[in-house]
């Protein structure tokens, strides 16, 4: 416990932010869990195509830009190189079609905000500016967002979740292209069809073959 007024205030703010984040994570998980019931599993077939399936061209560009801030490209590939946007577009056309309206309404609100404040689309803003906007979306403080059940916090948590899944799900779903997500993690791919593992591999005494043909410790 800290006894300075400043310290206590700071602690309060960080607690409430934490609680808030946990709530929004749950919100998006609920959306996630609620979907997928009795829907065709067409995403795998569709995912090999880079053609738009659910999003419009401007929506695609905006979501791709958001995903690139959530998992940026640095010395390692990020969401852009993994094709997370393609994963998200195909999921929204298939298993996650129930949350397409969340994306569409939120993207319209985000575009309205960026035009009002910057007279430009989100995807055209500098990376620094994009991050500032996304902090406001994450915290729910972004201006011009319409009242109603679609909240910016839930939208952000959902895109973050989708981006993470697109980065490291099986490439057949349209993301994790060329296994770049798995390479960033050091995940060699599932072992089931690679002959499994050995007791020596479990303690690092034998190399592990990756699904793309390398070996790791």
């Amino acid at each position: 416990m800290t006894d300075s007024l400043f310290g206590r205030g700071k602690q309060c703010r960080s607690m409430s932010r934490r609680e808030f984040l946990e709530r929004t994570i749950q919100g998006s998980a609920l959306l996630w869990v609620g979907e997928g019931i009795a829907r065709p599993r067409a995403a795998r077939a569709a995912s090999q195509s880079q053609k738009l399936a659910a999003l419009s061209i401007p929506e695609w560009k905006t979501v791709e830009a958001i995903a690139a801030r959530i998992l940026p490209t640095d010395q390692d590939p990020g969401a852009r190189e993994a094709g997370c946007i393609n994963f998200i577009d195909k999921a929204l056309a298939n298993e996650d079609a129930m949350i397409l309206p969340l994306y569409q309404m939120s993207l319209a609100a985000l575009e309205g905000h960026c035009q009002a404040v910057f007279k430009n689309s989100f995807a055209e803003l500098s990376e620094e500016r994009q991050e500032k906007v996304l902090v406001q979306v994450e915290n729910g403080t972004v201006s011009g967002w319409p009242q109603g059940p679609i909240r910016p916090e839930a939208f952000f948590a959902t895109v973050r979740f989708h981006t993470l899944v697109g980065f490291v799900a099986n490439p057949s779903y349209g993301g994790n292209q060329d296994f770049v997500g798995w390479k960033v993690l050091g995940f060699p791919g599932p072992r089931h069809h690679m002959g499994g593992g050995t007791p020596e591999q479990m303690v690092g005494k034998q190399k592990i073959k990756t699904v793309w043909g390398d070996e790791i410790d």
Binding site: E19, G34, I37, P72, E95, A169, H192, G197
Partner: protein
Amino acid sequence: MAKREEFDVCVIGTGAGGGVMIHELTAAGFNVVALERGKSYTTANFTDDELGNLIRRSSLAPHQLESYRAEPKAPSRAGRFNNLAHCVGGSSVHWSAASWRYRPDEFKVLSSEGPVAGANLADWPIDYDELEPYYGKAERAYGVSGQSGSNPFEPKRSSSYPNPPHPFRSASYVIERGANNLGYHPFPLPLAINSQPYGNRPPCMRSGQCANYGCIVNAKASSLSVHIPPALATDRLDLRPESFVNEIRLDETGRVRSVSYLTATGEQREVYAKRFVLSAGAVGSAHLLKLSTSGAFPEGLANSSGQLGRNLTYHITAIVGFWTDELSHGIVGQTGQVAIDDLHASDSKRGFIRGGMIMENGEANPIYYAMNGVSQGLSAGTQTWGKPLKDYLRKFRHAASMLAIGEDLPREENGIDVDPTIKDHLGIPVPRITHTNHPNDIALHHYYEGKMMEIAQASGAKDVWKIRLPGFSDLEKGRSQEGSYHLHGTCRMGDDPSKSVLNRWCRAHDVPNLWVVDGSCFPTAGGYNPTMTIVANAYRVVEQMIREAKRLDS
């Protein structure tokens, strides 16, 4: 008029409990029809796809729909809350295979603790000694791999594990070191996964994907890999997948006459039998009994006690994550390799009663790990996206985690009934879950979270964080857990018909030819993964059922 179909026994549900019943009954010469709501899969159908199996959970239960509310009278909302497999073999197909015997006091919670406000505690009508030989039978059937005597807190056993334990991975040694540094007694986690060829099943290939996956080589024991194949070989099993039972029907004497079920195409059929065994799990069994209302049972079949569908228990699952200095090698091996049971015994001085077990949680699933990056960021006080999230992902090979399974207290308000408005794809009203945790559960959760963090720190880990799964309300303010992997209590067994649904042989007090054999008979939840207790109890019950049936039918 077509000849009506009549069997010796009709078993509804083919999971851990149903599998034992089907196998033992067909072996004893009975003609059995088994009705399973889900599809029949072979190992060729099981995939390594984490998104379908673990995240969307649509691979093994494509049509699962439930509803949830925290409190009675609150509105419910639709979703998938419990982690179930709807297929031949039930949830034993995708279980983690952690294989435990409950402790003697876990069968006698009311008499060892006394009544607790806000909880509906009860003693089991049986004790550990009565179940002990059946635990041995269950361990031999499932080929449990473990080191007998390695857990100094295990109750006495009359037989050893049939297979030696699995080797440790790097992370297991780290956890073992942390536990040893604190004076605990870590031991190899007993797993119903073959460590050598056993029971016509091959040894484990150490792919890391056990919980939430069907085993592609049948090294993991399940109803599907152990009990269904020999039952089919007797030619006395008529196995009917994609058959959703929606009503149990009584005759004029109060015995079950038949069950009606819907096929995949929505066709309504009826099947007759002398005896009926309900093994649809604590959600499915209570749901079906609640759907089967009649003049004598307006509140659900076999419910003269009013306890049907109540006392649902979920277990507490607390999880912590940490990074190891060396590579953790979570990507190969099994579910987890090491366990700690020193902190299990109930001690009210800790601020709560009852207890649980701690085990390694293998980090073999990249999406699951990526999702938990948000928990880690919150713990570290960093942004939960951007560079900190990317840095977190880069440490996957150093990831390790532990989980604790703890005993939650039964509350009468927690349970399963029939949702008044939400219907599934077949038009059947879905099971409605009502669940809020007892304050004791929350105190227990905090305690085990703290103890696991201490173990990680004692191993030398610098960064340790609490992993809070989706579907939990804020633990700091109390909790309402929406769903679980472990389901028990909705048809509790007991000697007093006014306080229990089933008698000590899992036969309904109210209906003489109806048995319920799954987790729903558990009066209290125990503090370990429940499957081996479901299997052992099924062996105990079926022995009596066969003895009695042979006497009556001869």
